[in-house]
Subunit: 241 residues, 2 copies
């Protein structure tokens, strides 16, 4: 606390998010099939952790809700570890209110309807039909909050084709302010890699960012979040109102 | 190489597996649904890595075929990294011949029949039916080899109920020499933990080992492997012929 106070005193101009609470979700979710099997999304959690770190550097208080990720969690954030989408939704609700919420987690769209408490035995000729149910849409729920909605709600869209079209449609469908979209096709090396090439979708359209380190993407996004909150939140798309 | 030679000269009595080649599989397999989703088994790879390390200490040459594991791979082994069960089978075939083969990997029993090259889009009301196909049974294939079968083939059985009965049946069904069985029910803390409580199933029956560190399980198993190979392989169940 003393160190934080000294840092805040030394670098007031660089801490535009001082006094702000930002919620960041990160990593994959794991949806159990039985005690030993699960369905998962690919996500190292590296981009989410980098965003949280960048927000902390700008002075924000950060709650970091993370699924089982391989990247180390950000130092200085309040870490909430979850496994499933349902657990992530509960943790997000518990973490609100927040000035901004950045949903970088790769949440599984589906869960197995009735996960077995026992290991499913393989039987000759009898394949288990996995019955799937849609998971809660955490981004849409928070973006659609009538009361207590964060001033800025940011979603992510990992796509493999028609990236901008899919992400623009997703922004409208979810009711969020921005979508950070990227192409995660196997050939790009982005998934599991250290670099990212994103397109920021705002109400003003699509803004391509050059390919850069995930840390640099995080710093640029954190700066835009600070500008948007300073300008009044959801009506701002970063820098101008 | 020089260090290894010195070690071998210094500790000849402790290196009963010198000149032996042992194949170890470890970790989970990931079976893709589409570029961002997959089905997986829970496995940290900790027990498999510990077994490889123990075998290396007894002088064996070790080929370590590993799925995407969180535990660090054993130093000194030849590491072959794979993702799916089909890739693991191919890597195992390429690694043979071996004096002993220890299948500690948690191989997914099923794969998605036709993994999508594009990210499957979520559509309102339309849940994707995942069509599953049985994966190749790597343990049974190697245990059943008419020519070039390793002298000792060891499988693993992670169970949540009726551990000994399921593991004994598995030994007979697969045609392997030993099964290392354990109870991975959530309450045991074994999955993802540092300890293990196993039962060794041989032709002579079931032998309960006390709960101990995974490293200790590995050392005890490696010693038994050395004894069995010294006694002539598959007809030996460890120590006596």
């Amino acid at each position: 606390a003393i160190l934080a106070a000294i840092e805040a005193a030394l670098l007031p101009a660089d801490r535009p998010l001082s006094g702000r609470h930002v919620l960041v979700t990160s990593g994959p979710t794991h949806e159990p099939i039985d005690p030993v099997r699960y369905i998962a999304n690919r996500s190292s959690g590296a981009q989410g952790a980098a965003i949280a770190t960048a927000l902390l550097r700008l002075g924000a208080r950060v709650t970091f809700v993370t699924g089982p990720a391989s990247a180390p969690p950000p130092e200085g954030a309040e870490i909430v570890a979850v496994e499933t989408a349902a657990e992530m939704l509960a943790a997000v609700k518990a973490a609100l209110p927040a000035d901004a919420a950045i949903f970088a987690a790769a949440v599984a769209d589906w869960r197995v309807t009735q996960a077995s408490g026992r290991k499913i035995k393989k039987q000759a000729g009898a394949l288990p039909g996995l019955s799937l149910a849609e998971n809660p849409d955490i981004l849409a729920r928070v973006a659609g909050m009538a009361v207590g909605r964060p001033d800025l709600v940011v979603g992510f869209a990992a796509e493999t084709d028609d990236v901008v079209a899919h992400a623009t449609a997703k922004r409208a469908r979810k009711g969020c302010d921005w979508i950070v979209a990227n192409d995660v096709s196997p050939g790009t090396g982005i998934m599991g890699g250290t670099e990212n090439a994103v397109t920021l979708i705002t109400e003003e359209g699509a803004e391509d960012w050059p390919r850069m380190a995930k840390r640099a993407v995080a710093e640029r996004l954190a700066k835009r979040v600070a500008e948007a909150l300073a300008a009044g939140g959801r009506t701002a798309s970063g820098g101008r109102v």
